[in-house]
Amino acid sequence: MEEQVLTRLDSGSTAARRGLSDLSIRNLFIIPTIIFLIVFNIFPLLYSLGYSFTDFRASVSQPATFVGLENYRDLLGDPYVWSNFTITAKYVLVSVGGQVLVGFGVALLLNRDVPGKGLVTTLLLLPMMMSMAVVGLFWQLLYSPTWGIINYALHLGDFAWLSNPDVALYAVALTDIWMWSPFVMLLSLAGLSAIPKHLYEAAAIDRASRWYTFTRITLPLVSPLLLIAIIFRTMEAFKTFDLAFIMTSMESTELIAIRLYKMAFQEWQTGRSCALAYIVLIMVLAITNIYVKYLNKAKER
């Protein structure tokens, strides 16, 4: 009887009695992965949770002293850290917003009989498969104030993109939009192509306006996948490190992940950085939770 609970295979068959039992196969297959993840992901996090309550500095050989919640209190009262969060929020808003506009827009354009559609789609998807560090590097070539092709093409003279504190964050976001709009496009295209044609035919018979068709048919039916794209990109943009770190190094572009890196590996405030890491971690896990909920919902459809 126990086996019936255990397996989706036919547990009554004689095969279940040959070789290893179902229970041991399941454990043999699943448990190593779970142990691996616990040892290399959860254990380090517990380790840093401990340090987050101390004033430990990894650069000196002094033992750590317990300081209780002081690190957390300091961080939450630190206007500098708050400004890092504000910068991150601005960055997330601009880059995810841009990605949705461009990605969904291009998906609407592509959702027709375009010659060579498969090839066009694959070519458009190239940027998102690339290394963020390398993309950040070669966009510096494009952004160069003196000989970059962006300033040349837009007749901007020697407009400084990456060394201007008011513009740099948006310049990084623009690169992120270039890189990740294809992601939104890919999911939107999947949603658009799943909309049954007869809905549009019915709307045409009823002489529904384009706008009405778009807001009452297209948008509601694409929205589950679009939402997944938005949540996932929000989470990724919130974690952004590579792109901004490579492209600029200004106070106005110091995203929370960069602050964390500097605190941990340049200022060696290990204890304090562990506390900040935990604040970031909780926010990321909250978004992950929402993401998985919508992912499972889309799966059931």
């Binding site: 397996t7 694959t122 998807l125 498969m129 560090a133 590097l137 000989w147 490190f241």
Partner: protein, 319 residues
Amino acid sequence: MAAVASKGHKVWNRALIGLVFVVLVIYLLPLYWISSTAFKPRNLATTVPPTIVFEPTVTAFVKLFTTRVQARGEPDPEEYAKAPWYEKQVLDSGERFIKDSEGKIESSGYWSRFLNSIIIAVTSTFLAVAMGTLTAYGFSRFRMPGEQDWLFFILSTRMLPPVVVAIPMFLMYRSVGLVDTHIGLIILYTAFNLSFSVWLMKGFIDEIPIEYEEAALVDGYTRMQSFFKIVLPQAATGIAATAVFCFITAWNEYAFALMMTNRKAQTAPPYIPAQLGSGITDWTVIAAGTFLFLVPVAIFTFLLRKHLLRGVTFGAIRK
């Protein structure tokens, strides 16, 4: 009336298709620009206005793999006569190779970084896919108490920001001597890719009809045999797609590599941008390094094109 409307519709449609190709050209321009810079002579790389028509050379690639100094005057005629054509181009451009005591040209750090990237990406991919496939099969075919919670736990490890994990990992690695080692990065990348591999493979294995296995069991296979002889061959496409995704992720990874390595086990992503700050910037060399690094990714993207949607949604959406 209807005919007019449909004609207008046709023109509109054509205009939109035209717009698609405009978007495509704008989108690929950055990639074209970095690739073409890799084949430009140095004096044409940063001109105003930008040089579009030029005679392609491979000088930048020769420079990428060698160490050189700027020099004035004519190169040593004897040495010049002996040099192969591609080295002559570098000598003509006014640079001299740095040679070791045996007279061999010293190679730059690029090749060893490239090799490190290959070793680390391939090994971690193999481990992540092997473990991930087994675990996915376990979750797909057997019941487990708290199954959804375990799957969520597995996925959540993927979402952790690299910096958050890197701080304690760095301290642990330092105490066991794993900083700047291949094994250190391989472990990190395996852990990072494992959750992805489990989710993606579960999607693929869920699609294999359970009846195949049951038929095999009736024929006298054990559960293990039916897994290796029936399920694995059926899942071959899925395994290949998962492996390519894991490889690309490990190949592209920057943050862990930056924090955990500095020389011996350093991969290409932290190395290529670091050239920008050192000495005189030669964009053709940086472009050549970038180009070589991006080519495998571009090839793999084409191979994966049918599975991209599935890949970016962790196997949840299959179309």
